[in-house]
Symmetry: D2
Subunit: 462 residues, 4 copies
């Protein structure tokens, strides 16, 4: 509208329009700054400013050119108005057939959005503790598929190797992804230190030495459920470096936790980390469906992008782009701080509750997200099975707490893991976990602990 300021002034008056144009210029200036810097804006943008930005992005895609006519097989045609709108008139997805990070001639706006978003995410990764990061790519698939892509990239680099050494974490995707990549998974059981389950570095070293060139990589994990703790990344990274073995880190929801990010950073400086992978939904409060693969070399990230065959949905990028602009640096780090406070509060309130019911909160200081609360079987009425405590929470609208009874096996593909859910063949006690994750509020903690307490009051014999 700024270019129409002259005739607009005739209609509404000079000073009013001039003030309005100041607002437009301010928005334009923020936009230019965003493209130039590709860093989180200090303050979040208004929804209106974000919408205008998206409108401009969309107008830069060929399917929105005035008078455009398609003569190919893929022309960004969209049938439903509802679908058009919910995709903000973007239709061409991201990437090209050879490279998910390539720019499309037909979709300059979408490509620009992808490039900016990569920059914003890189800014976040550096700011949250992994300052050594050099590049990243946002993939339109969730963490499991991103791990698979990373593994397939590593296999392309080293076709003779197929063994993945894996400190056990009982999360289905992690067992599945390597096997889908055609790899053999060697499981490294954790060792118990106090209440914590920690990486058996010695066993990892043994396996590396024993299998030699057949080892494709070590696959470690940062964010995890207590009492498992983040793997000893620095030690593993040093081992990988000295043995010339690749190192892939599953940092699924670790961006929200400075300890996880710091571990990766130090590991990358002191040893070898090829790639680290994280999901968008848990770290950035967007719907499930996207992930970030990051690393310490632009070339490697670029090669990973080229490994991904074909285009992908731009939906995850779009959700992330909107969200990061909406949060701004202030909003994002406010959430990070809030999470820390919530963790502290959750721990204290669970400890108070535990003292009443002769249980205790597992001491796992290296896990700064998840907390375990023991469920000593003899403390409960005879007719109560421990998993019912989880069900009762669910029917009281508390989701996500998990009761681990340390019993039962699970087979995923060719791998069978005993006492599935406990990350270990021999954890000494059943427990229930609670996570203090991004977006949880202090009020949420109150509700969770209150309802948990009500249930304990019913089922405990203490």
């Amino acid at each position: 509208m700024e270019k129409a300021a002259v005739p607009a002034k005739k209609l509404v008056g000079n000073s009013y329009i001039e003030q309005g144009c100041n607002s437009l210029r301010s928005a334009d200036s923020s936009l230019r700054h965003l493209v130039e810097q590709r860093r989180l804006p200090q303050r979040g943008w208004s929804d209106l400013a974000i919408r205008r930005c998206l409108d401009e992005v969309a107008l830069m895609d060929s399917n929105n050119y005035e008078g455009n006519v398609g003569a190919g097989e893929r022309e960004g045609r969209v049938y439903s108005e509802l679908v058009k709108q919910r995709n903000h008139y973007l239709a061409h997805g991201m990437g090209r057939s050879g490279d998910i990070a390539a720019n499309q001639p037909k979709a300059a706006g979408s490509a620009l959005m992808c490039r900016i978003t990569e920059g914003l995410v890189l800014d976040v990764l550096k700011s949250t503790g992994c300052n050594n990061t050099k590049s990243c790519v946002v993939l339109p698939v969730a963490t499991g598929m991103a791990l698979l892509t990373s593994l397939l990239y590593l296999r392309q680099c080293n076709p003779q190797a197929s063994i993945v050494i894996w400190p056990r974490i009982d999360q289905g995707t992690c067992v599945k992804a390597p096997q889908t990549a055609g790899c053999e998974l060697l499981v490294v059981e954790p060792v118990l230190e106090g209440d914590s389950l920690v990486t058996d570095v010695g066993r990892v070293e043994e396996l590396i030495h024993h299998h030699g060139d057949k080892v494709l990589c070590v696959l470690t994990t940062t964010s995890c459920f207590a009492p498992r703790t983040p793997d000893k990344l620095v030690h593993i990274a040093e081992l990988c470096k000295s043995n010339n073995v690749a190192h892939l880190v599953n940092n699924a929801y670790g961006i929200q936790c400075s300890r996880c990010m710091g571990l990766i950073n130090t590991a990358s400086l002191n040893g070898r980390v090829d790639l680290y992978v994280q999901s968008l939904d848990k770290n950035f409060l967007v719907p499930v469906g996207g992930s970030v693969v990051a690393g310490f070399s632009k070339e490697i990230i670029s090669a990973v992008s080229r490994t991904y065959p074909g285009r992908g949905s731009s939906s995850p990028v779009l959700d992330l782009f909107i969200t990061l602009l909406s949060m701004g640096r202030e909003g994002f780090f406010q959430l990070i701080s809030q999470r820390k406070e919530v963790y502290k509060k959750l721990k204290v309130k669970l400890q108070d509750l535990a003292s009443v019911y002769k249980e205790r909160v597992l001491e796992t200081p290296n896990n700064q997200i998840s907390l375990g609360f023991t469920l000593t079987p003899s403390n409960y009425k005879e007719d109560i099975k421990l998993p019912e405590i989880g069900s009762k929470l669910f029917t009281r609208n508390v989701t996500g707490a998990r009761v681990v009874t340390c019993s039962g096996d699970k087979t995923v593909g060719k791998v069978t893991l005993k006492k599935w859910g406990s990350h270990s063949n021999e954890y000494p006690t059943p427990y229930i976990t609670f996570a203090a994750a991004m977006g949880m509020t202090e009020n949420d903690v109150d509700v969770v602990v209150e309802k948990f307490g009500q249930i304990l009051a019913k089922v405990s014999v203490i």
Copy 2:
């Protein structure tokens, strides 16, 4: 985004971004042209282009300035995100306390949208047949309230006069508005010419002469249900001119009909027409709630605007602005042409049906929107009451057909009208009306006539 082209090119490449910027420049150019010309664009805009325009408009209102803080009692604060969005972040409404057409310092964007919309509507009024129109104002009230405003304006000009001479039309609002304005309504019964009910010009003249200075205005009607026909505007306008009496025209849904518009134009050239009033919903296919008051002098329209006390909702203007941009000249006149075709088809198909059932379509050639189909009582089964034919259509999802039995009185305020619904004390036959209105399709005609035929087959004794 165009101002960010330089850094964008570094990210996505010169040629892609250049093409994208061409699209942005094209949209900017259309926008400038719109503000300069305030005429319907030849081709309709895409929804994306419209949204971008609205975003720019909204950014020009102070409630959307970055960092704006309010210290008054009316600051455009909106609580609900849903409400913000559905109002496209506009909150200040239209007008100022003294004048519904005044520009607001706090809302330059909204004001600009109002001024542009007035221009677009003026363009439509001129293009559809009333080329002599000089000015118009879009009011955020429906036709009845717009008639009331017009009457109050006339009363302010001529405080001693309070009589409104009114060729009868059986539509509640028309009876109500003058009485709410504190006027006395003198009803002029129509005369029967063939099947048509036409204006009794002689009686109007008599009343003017008889009541002299007490006559505030003649209130005529163009668009109406058959067999009533548009009033003889040209004769009345001449009478008004020669007797120095104001003339207000209710052109409720007449913009869609070139005959109505032509009548007003000729009347304004040969005689006196002060104001003509029409609704937005029926002529422009927007939700109910707005109207246009138009006239042949900028000063009069300006005075009407000043008569309206206070601000108003900008919702009707927003709906109209979006719709006119979306239609463009081509879209709007395509609808006008379609309506003419639909009228012809409806007439022919009803005539065919009438010939089967020994009824006939009333010959009312001066009414080019509505058609009457006789319902001769003796043609129907004894236990059938004629209004049931309407109800049966309604339950078959055909809305808007009206059975007129020419019986029953209605009192609105102090005025009692006999045989309410038939516009006359003595129409010779019951009938049912169908309208070929803006937006009706040929397929709609098929469905309507088919279902009507099914009903006749059941209830007729022919």
Copy 3:
């Protein structure tokens, strides 16, 4: 979806679907409760729950019936998808030709929404301090037009009377509305008590006695800019009762202030109040464009509704319906409490600032919304004109503060008011006003006072 639970369970499993259906049943139950009680829900609804409710409302309007075909001239046809969506597929507006509060056969859903909204508003009016209220109607016009409608209703009741006695308030609409209604406005100057401008009850009484049957009503005001205070409603109401004169109260933004509501309640109990009128935007944080006319007799409100000729936009009702559901009782009264706190904070911070610059905050304890801050001319640099202080605030993005210099006249229609803006012919000092209105936050207060302080530092000679 609940009716599809059986086949859904086959696809997704019994327990998951059962949990999902519980959520649907909960939403249905809230909906039923809303329709039955027509009272604010205790807790606000989620946007999703509101949208679902609106979808159901819309499906009940005939334009959304599957297979509906229109054969009338007003069929709820909407051209633009953007317009359809922003109106949530509602097109028929509110009311019928005779009565803005009547139910439409073609629009059962819209009608239901109107009836519920009236109930919600009545609940608010009673809960905020005017418990004696019996009925109200939401009009699709802003306050000025609602005052006009109320005056036209009073004129219909008493056609011989045309004088409106009006304790002066310098707000354009209030001067305009009575004149548009064809009334003569008798201005009652306020008297100065301390810093406050208060109603000259004696003069009102004089005028009533002097003009007798010619007096249509007294038009009083509650919410207003300091140093004017709410009129002495109780005294006036008693006068009106004993003299059999109507009493109309302009309570524009008074719902947010318990003192204003309490005054009206007491006045209605002890004397006569026919109607009180308020705007939607300022009290409920919706866009400008709607108002509420409330009173102490269902019959009177019903008669006012019938005074309004024709239909109207359902947009203001829709905005209000969404907003009240979104707020819930908790949200609404949290805003009410916040406003009180903000008023206190604003007063204290302004007093602190005043003490630095040898000014003072006007003591107007009966005005609990607006505050005046003196601007003693000799305290400012010679080249500074006092209104520039307001302009400087505006360019620093503080809107709504008003500098009143107590000079200059204004003519609205036939009425000329001296020293326009100061509500008085002789207020002793210039000042600037700030309002602590609904939606203002404590942070807003900080920003406003900080920026005002910066300006004073530049322009003051103290």
Copy 4:
């Protein structure tokens, strides 16, 4: 609202509410029918009906339960209102860690939507010509990634085999996907029959015999650019069956073409087809990002789903669900018919143009989507390079036409293909291709041919 009918009738009247409830019941009935049948509804649903359905789906996901509190690490929290809305409040994506087609306890609604959508797609696949299809899964990745997933599935079934025999098609993704899967690609050059490039079945057979157990699969293609024609699927399928070799079909945009679908059907009946893969965007007019993997055994499709590690975005399913409901069977098959007509028209108009410029349209009757138009070099001005013709179309807003000069090599991974773009080492003439794809209109054809003609007029020497 239906459950609130009793109190609603008190407010608005029995008959009006009853009619409204009929509309709600009709929508409920359609919904139940949809869940029961999982087949395309005969007529498309209105956007309003679709929105209501989505609202119900969303309310069934735990993140939208009233009062839900999360205590896990993935709780469907979404930060931005814009993101919430564009995802219709769905946040949990699709699938679970082990299986992209599994139902999530926390997201019953999302899971239900996925199951319904699978049913709708299966219905489409059967109705468009591949009636033998037994099952399908919608993946939240584009075709390339779906081919990769299919290949990884095949590798899991047959870990010793790694050779993919591939009748050449010059589309980057097809070359990339097998290599990312760690396979060796054996390229089978096509043979020239008339103008058409057809499958060299003999060479495929030779390679199967030569490589024996090392052969993982044959990867054939249906939809392709002229003059390449769909592969001889039936012959290949018979070969695969008799040699016990897997057969994967890339049917990227073949759903829109009954010939492609019929080929797959016959091949599956007469020989072996393990899986066929297609993209969502081109066949269903949704944004890029989803695909369908279909097959002739529920177990195989189920195994493919389990190959996909982890969850995925529900965005592609959501877009498809909306679109298929919006189209209905009538809408979808109307588009299919339109495409056939458009193909015929495009061919005739291009032939007319060719005859003017001494060129000809390549005769490739087995390719019913794409057409080639020769560009004989000697027919053009000396300073014109043939690719410029494509660029000129692009700058005239005709996108998607491709000039193939039959020169230049391309290396993707370890595979180098000569004369990239022409699908062959030795096609005799340069040409330009045009596609008559889903969604193209007859008017589009006019514009394309007109603009192409304008360019020829400038560059041709004929």
